[in-house]
């Protein structure tokens, strides 16, 4: 009996050591991969696939499916081995933290995730996932988007139903007025973390000040502390009071506003306009393309790539990330760049002609950009979250 127990103990220790060795190997492989050419990576990826691996990846953006099939077409010897699964934003980190290292067949090798602060706290800080960024792109992708690696930016804009003309929103404080009650559509921020992060970003000193100025411009008097500590909290309170949560996804908001009542306005993912039926599309107008809004007309968030620490195909993951950051990958047929609202961090890739959109730089200052470091550094995250949650739940 003792022998059996000793043997089991030795086996368990060996497995633990192998586990940690494997995590180091993935990190080392990614380090090595970052300075390899795509041809060298392809050779390594072919070897991984030949040894039985397949790249399972989770993504919160459905376009990744098309990116994967284009990738397989470009690297035919990997065909059929890049397996995509769409995952809901809200449960991304519960799923990933539990599946990484579980040993379950087909658990993810990498993921394209939103909500950078959660990526950092739950995966990167705990060594459950690693960052990978190709050295060859260091000069064309701003340093802020290299660690963690951003593969695309996505914007959510104020878009409204124009069947009865313009809604005339020129200042964000208008959206807190009673006349907008039930006419503003926004996805539940307690279920959609990028929406939550947008509201949290408003509490930053920079946006609080901008909101106070916009308040003064709209009401003709300076904002004063009263029921709320800052102008940001007051705006969030007034805005959430008016929000209509009928639609549970950005696609539903887009199609619902397009086919619904005149004057309804939503803050939703710009690219979802592609899901609106052609006959309804003329019913929608992007507020920013009509006039500037004091002090923002939506928000911008990042989609990151991250490699799971237990992957058995780190080189394939690296090659796929290279692909997503490249012109062919990002701007290939029916890829992210073919739709409005997706922007590559690779500054050499611009938006194509003919789309009702503007380049990434255009949105700077007009939208609230998600800042991973600011949200991560918050000491009162708990308090802000509670403030939002009780207003959403009513």
């Amino acid at each position: 009996m003792k022998r059996v127990l000793s043997l089991l103990l030795v086996l368990m220790m060996a497995m633990t050591l192998m586990g940690s060795a494997s995590a180091e190997t993935v990190q080392e492989a990614l380090d090595a991969a970052s300075s390899m050419t795509n041809e060298e990576l392809y050779e390594k990826a072919k070897a991984e696939i030949a040894s039985g691996a397949q790249l399972n990846f989770y993504s919160t953006t459905s376009f990744a499916e098309k990116a994967a099939s284009n990738f397989e077409a470009a690297y035919p010897e990997l065909a059929g081995k890049i397996i995509y699964a769409e995952i809901d934003d809200g449960e991304t980190y519960t799923k990933l933290t539990n599946q990484i290292g579980s040993g379950v067949k087909d658990s993810p090798d990498m993921a394209l995730v939103q909500n950078g602060p959660d990526l950092k706290v739950n995966l990167l800080d705990d060594g459950l996932a690693f960052n990978y960024f190709p050295a060859a792109l260091k000069d064309v992708v701003p340093a802020a988007y290299q660690d963690p690696t951003v593969v695309t930016f996505i914007n959510s804009l104020m878009i409204y139903n124009n069947k009865e003309g313009s809604v005339g929103v020129k200042n964000v404080w208008q959206l807190t007025e009673p006349e907008w009650n039930g006419k503003v559509f926004f996805k539940d921020p307690t279920n959609e973390t990028v929406n939550l992060n947008f509201l949290i970003m408003l509490t930053s000193p920079e946006w609080t000040e901008k909101l106070a100025k916009a308040y003064e411009a709209y009401y003709g008097k300076a904002w004063e502390k009263g029921e709320f500590d800052t102008a940001a909290y007051e705006w969030i309170n007034g805005f959430l009071k008016n929000v209509n949560y009928t639609f549970t996804s950005a696609s539903k908001i887009a199609t619902g506003i397009a086919s619904g009542a005149a004057g309804n306005l939503g803050i939703f993912v710009f690219s979802k306009l592609r899901k609106v039926d052609e006959a309804d599309r003329p019913n929608l107008s992007v507020l920013q393309f009509e006039n500037d809004v004091d002090c923002f007309s939506g928000f911008m968030y990042n989609v990151y790539s991250t490699v799971c620490s237990d992957t058995d195909c780190p080189y394939t993951c690296a090659l796929f990330i290279n692909w997503l950051l490249s012109e062919e990958g990002f701007a290939g047929e029916k890829s992210w760049n073919s739709s409005q609202g997706y922007y590559s961090p690779n500054t050499t890739i611009g938006k194509p002609e003919g789309l009702e959109d503007e380049p990434y730089t255009y949105w700077d200052g007009k939208l609230v950009f998600e800042d991973l470091n600011y949200i991560d550094s918050l000491d009162n995250y708990n308090e802000i979250y509670r403030f939002i949650n009780v207003r959403v739940s009513k």
């Binding site: 989770y58 699964a85 769409e86 799923k95 706290v121 209509n244 549970t248 619902g256 979250y385």
Partner: protein
């Protein structure tokens, strides 16, 4: 001397053990006792500990302590913070109670009334009404919820999307009618009314008619007879039915999600999932635990009533001939109304889903707005919708269907076999503590709402020792097998009770091995009950959402969770197409069950 004493003490035990293990029934009971303790009770313990620990995600980020640390924060937030507590616990709890009570009453009113007409009156077209009336019970409850939305959403409520009623008749129903507590009560009540019909109808059908006849002779009016004779007799059945519908309504998850999201009308189940999804696992586990406590209490009360029912004799043998109440001139109208209503709720959902799966623009039902792209479209035609192809051309859908069918078959094999073995062993060892313990443990999962049960297993699969289970097919199979075991074990016990032990004993005397006795004697005798024990879990798995929603590795893993994801993320046409597909599959399986077992839901009640 001491050696002899020790041997004497040991010998009888050894023989007792040998005798104990020589009986297959004892071995089976012991096996299931261990298995059910491990699978039912131990996960509960894991869930209890999870109510006091910090989880990855939001909790870790908010509390800034390592995952797994002990905390009382979940309790503090859920119960001590007035605002949080009201919006995240008390209001959802109140809503759950309102929905459960309302649907219980409605289900009984509808089901009981139809049962009375079918069993106690000379209503026309009884067979047809009886057969069609049980149809909504076969369909998953959420299909009715989706149907309700498709029908009644309109330009005046929610997002202003036109539904069928507005499109066809120009009528706009108010918001309380379309979203919120009222439609939840209507849908759950309608879904469970066939259940009330079956239970109350069974009692009415077998009721001693002399009681009513005596009242008639004494010149009591028809209303007085119903009030003073009929209702008191069926009262235990009514109470029991009410509690069962109440319990199902309280635990319902999918209906409140589809009908409550728009107006932020949360129930305990939907809030539980919302909290878990938002990263508040600890609070979700507390709510799951409270749901289980409440479920146990309700079913305890039900057992009390059904136990009391033994004293209510409904079958006396004195009067087999029931004198039917003559509806006279009202017969035609009542029959027509019932036919229209039953057809509406049985057929219209199918028509509605078929239509919604082919229209491009919501609310526009003209032929020019129709396309089959959502079914058979290729990449070039459906790319804009965000899907790679129509659902019949989509590998993800076929994989989802394959996994769901695989899961249903696996679970049915496990549940059917276990139910039969438990039935056999419990009946053969009836009266022993072991048999009682196994029978009760096998029934234990029935007390837990599906969402809460899934939550328990989520707690297990996310613990360090069982991470290998998380997101696996194995976990789904396990959780479904335990959850659907109660009916199979009860059915196993009931069917085995009907077989006299002498039949098996005779074979034992002739030295026939146990396996042969089971396969050549017991199985053939109770063939149809056993087949039904195997096939019913297939239907359960094919329509289950709440149990799997937290456990699938990703939303499109199974067909039902895929449908749920489609509806949440705005793929309305794909959602309708998958719903239609699921309904058709369930109807086919149900027909198969009926054909193989000769049983049907309404058998024995309808005309």
């Amino acid at each position: 001397m001491s050696t002899i004493q020790r041997d004497l003490r040991r010998e009888p035990l050894r023989y007792r053990m040998k005798a104990f293990f020589a009986k297959p029934a004892n071995l089976i009971l012991l096996f299931f006792l261990i298995a059910l303790v491990v699978l039912s009770l131990m996960p509960m313990v894991t869930m209890l500990t999870n109510m006091f620990t910090v989880h990855a995600g939001t909790e870790k980020k908010m509390l800034r302590v390592p995952v797994g640390s002990w905390t009382l924060n979940h309790f503090e937030l859920l119960f001590a913070d007035p605002e949080w507590s009201r919006s995240n616990f008390w209001t959802p709890l109140l809503n759950s109670l309102i929905v459960a009570t309302g649907s219980g009453i409605l289900g009984i009113l509808i089901g009981g009334t139809v049962a009375w007409f079918i069993t106690r009156s000379d209503l026309k077209c009884k067979k047809f009404i009886s057969a069609v009336f049980v149809f909504p019970y076969m369909m998953p409850a959420w299909t009715l919820a989706l149907f309700w939305t498709n029908m009644f959403q309109n330009s005046k409520v929610g997002g202003g999307v036109t539904g069928m009623v507005e499109s066809l008749f120009g009528i706009c129903m108010p918001e309380w009618f379309v979203f919120g507590l009222f439609p939840m009560i209507m849908v759950i009540g309608l879904h469970y009314s066939p259940f009330a019909y079956l239970l109350i109808g069974g009692i009415l059908k077998n009721m001693d008619a002399t009681l009513e006849e005596s009242a008639t002779i004494l010149k009591a009016s028809r209303f007085t007879i119903i009030r003073r004779v009929t209702i008191p007799i069926v009262m235990p059945a009514i109470l029991s039915t009410f509690l069962l519908i109440f319990s199902s309504g309280f635990a319902s998850y999918t209906v409140p999600v589809f009908l409550g999201s728009a107006t932020r009308t949360f129930t305990l189940s939907t809030k539980m999932r919302a909290l878990i999804q938002a990263g508040y696992e600890g609070q979700g586990y507390i709510m799951a635990f409270l749901s289980i406590l409440l479920g146990t209490a309700i079913l305890g009360i039900n057992q009390y009533f059904t136990g009391k029912r033994k004293s209510f004799t409904t079958v006396s043998g004195k009067s087999g001939q029931v004198s039917l109440v003559k509806l006279r001139g009202a017969n035609g109208i009542i029959s027509a109304v019932l036919i229209v209503l039953t057809l509406f709720f049985a057929i219209m959902p199918l028509v509605s889903f078929a239509l919604e799966s082919v229209i491009k623009q919501a609310g526009n039902y003209s032929f020019s707005n129709m396309t089959l792209d959502f079914w058979i479209g290729t990449e070039s035609s459906v790319f804009e919708t965000g899907m790679p192809s129509g659902i019949l051309m989509n590998g993800t859908m076929w994989w989802g269907l394959l996994r769901q069918v695989g899961l249903a078959v696996t679970v049915s094999l496990i549940v059917g076999t276990c139910g039969m073995l438990i039935g056999y062993a419990c009946v053969r060892r009836r009266g022993t503590w072991l048999a009682r313990a196994v029978e009760n443990l096998a029934f234990f999962p029935y007390l837990m709402p599906a969402m809460a049960f899934g939550t328990i297993y989520l707690a297990v699969a996310t613990s360090a020792s069982f991470k290998w289970m998380y997101g696996s097919f194995f976990l789904l199979g396990l959780v479904a097998s335990v959850k659907f075991l109660p009916f199979a074990s009860r059915s196993g016990v009931n069917s085995m009770m009907q077989i006299a032990p002498e039949i098996e004993e005779a074979a034992t005397i002739f030295g026939v091995p146990w396996v042969t006795r089971m396969s050549r004697i017991l199985f053939p005798i109770q063939k149809s009950a056993i087949i039904s024990g195997y096939l019913l879990p297939v239907i359960n798995v094919m329509r289950e959402v709440a149990l799997f929603t937290l456990l699938v590795p990703y939303p499109r893993y199974l067909l039902t969770t895929m449908l749920f994801s489609f509806n949440e993320t705005g793929y309305a046409q794909y959602g309708s197409a998958v719903t239609l597909l699921i309904i058709v599959i369930i109807i086919l399986i149900n027909s198969l069950v009926n054909k193989l077992t000769g049983a049907s839901f309404d058998k024995g009640i309808g005309g």
